[in-house]
Symmetry: C2
């Protein structure tokens, strides 16, 4: 017995799911989730420079906030705090999404306002509640730093520029892919799921989660409304599509986040309001499907989600 | 009914506890735990410079590891990884203890090999599996960085020196005190504990935990053996007192860690082998008291331990 929020909502929810499923391209239905590639081409020298830049808080106004401050490698490339904390202790308005596999997202940021990683990296550097810097100051700093000066000269053939810095950071982020999660092994026919995981994957499909969470990033390839059936509270500070388009229909519309490494990246959602996977599943079912999940359904879906934790990116390992 | 590991061990354990209690100075018995002071004098300019240095991975050999990498403010000033990861991905041999309130410890490091914070800060900078730097390289870097150059000139009246850098970092760490945990309010007579917390505190005393965990840091003021009753596995790589004294009796002897903010600083022990507070309590009872705790005893002690979480240090807040 499932407890309906209301029967009507459930019906509406199911109708929408059926409609969405019908509208999906056939190819996506055949192979809805795609393994992370085992190899991604990137420029190793640029990426190593980008790694140093990524860790460097000197490129923030108060010299205490780096990219890594909010995209922590101890937390699957995401931020364990509900919202990020920027320079001078300023609170941001969003839970920083994982930088792992971000290269595979169709757009960057919760509201997709950046078209690629380089475009994204530009954002927090300027944001007054994130790093709050101006390009000229960063360039002057990089130029005076012998390591950076030499690395930029060697790689880009010029003194450090802001644009080349974004390029190097983006190249490093391209290297942050996490192949070989258990589910990818399963997709490649190299392992079996346990009965619990298999039931979780089946439920993930039959409940319709896969309608939005599919592709190589199991998400990250469409915008969807948070609160499709039961509206979710909205604040003007939320970084939603409305913030980009000013279309009222885009309130609480966000890029669907990736589910890769989801077991590592608590808390969840744009506002970090779900502290655990269990909370996140309950909220998703309630707001976007219109019903409450049974305990055993949560257990099996979590078992499936835990098969999505991939390898630590090679560029972060000693081997 | 408590399940004895063996009756003899339990008897030995109790005898030792009685003997230890009898040997304790009367003053310590009267007021075994002391609140964190509400104010600690520190030089604000030095501390602000120290904060920037603390966050700066440029002072490590591969420019990716800062003090904050292993003493994370998102984890109560400690490291969420069982052992720390240094430059070039090298694994350390210990779980980094919290830097919060470290100023109040009688010695620094698990084996107390540093006499104070400045002496401690010197360690990881040189350690080949931590930051692996030489003072001259750091001085050259600081001198070329306009922010550091000016800050050192202003504060110390000279160009940046390695010794002054350690001084500034130590001053920042002095500012990392966390007053006003619930238990400190209770000690000052400003609040009551809940019945659960009160039972936990009572058990904390009657079981003898307080024998070692007392004073302003509820620990951090003596060396004790891990495995007093049931020996704990030992590895030559463990950072114990033996590593300092080469006295075989000092194997697995460590500085008693602080219990302040303990709910935030998982995993626990020198080797990070206890992933949760529950695990840590079970291991402490088994190895150092010689018996297994009941589930309800664990629940109430944890309730007490959670009253030890203090305020975020003021120097890390916006106010």
């Amino acid at each position: 017995m499932r407890h309906s929020v209301t029967k009507n909502w459930k019906k509406i929810g199911l109708s929408i799911l059926v409609a969405l499923a019908a509208a999906m391209p056939v190819a996506a239905m055949e192979a809805p989730i795609v393994p992370i590639p085992l190899h991604v081409d990137y420029d190793k020298k640029k990426a190593e420079l980008g790694k140093v830049l990524f860790m460097d808080p000197q490129i923030s106004a108060d010299k205490t906030v780096s990219c890594h401050s909010c995209h922590s490698f101890d937390h699957g490339g995401a931020d364990p705090r509900p919202v990020s904390i920027g320079v001078h202790g300023a609170k941001g308005n969003a839970n920083a999404p994982t930088v792992y596999n971000a290269y595979f997202n169709f757009r960057q940021f919760w509201n997709g306002r950046a078209k690629d990683l380089k475009d994204q990296a530009n954002g927090p550097l300027h944001n007054p509640v994130e790093m709050d810097m101006v390009p000229k100051e960063i360039e002057a700093y990089l130029d005076k730093n012998p390591y950076y000066h030499e690395a930029f000269r060697e790689i880009y053939g010029t003194n450090p520029t802001y644009d080349d810095m974004l390029d190097a950071i983006a190249e490093f982020e391209k290297a942050l892919f996490t192949p070989n999660c258990k589910f990818d092994y399963y997709l490649r026919g190299q392992t079996e799921l346990t009965p619990l995981e298999a039931r979780g994957y089946r439920l993930f499909k039959t409940l319709g989660c896969i309608t939005c969470h599919n592709g190589v990033n199991i998400g990250g390839n469409s915008f969807q409304k948070f609160g499709l059936i039961v509206p979710y509270r909205w604040k003007p500070s939320f970084p939603d599509r409305y913030d980009v388009t000013h279309n009222p229909d885009d309130r609480n519309v966000y890029k669907v986040p990736t589910l890769r490494n989801i077991a590592l990246t608590a808390p969840y959602f744009h506002d970090g309001s779900a502290l655990t996977l269990t909370d996140a599943l309950k909220m998703m079912a309630y707001h976007n499907l219109g019903f409450e999940l049974e305990e055993d359904e949560i257990v099996v879906i979590e078992a499936f989600l835990k098969t999505l934790t991939g390898e630590t990116p090679a560029i972060l390992r000693q081997d």
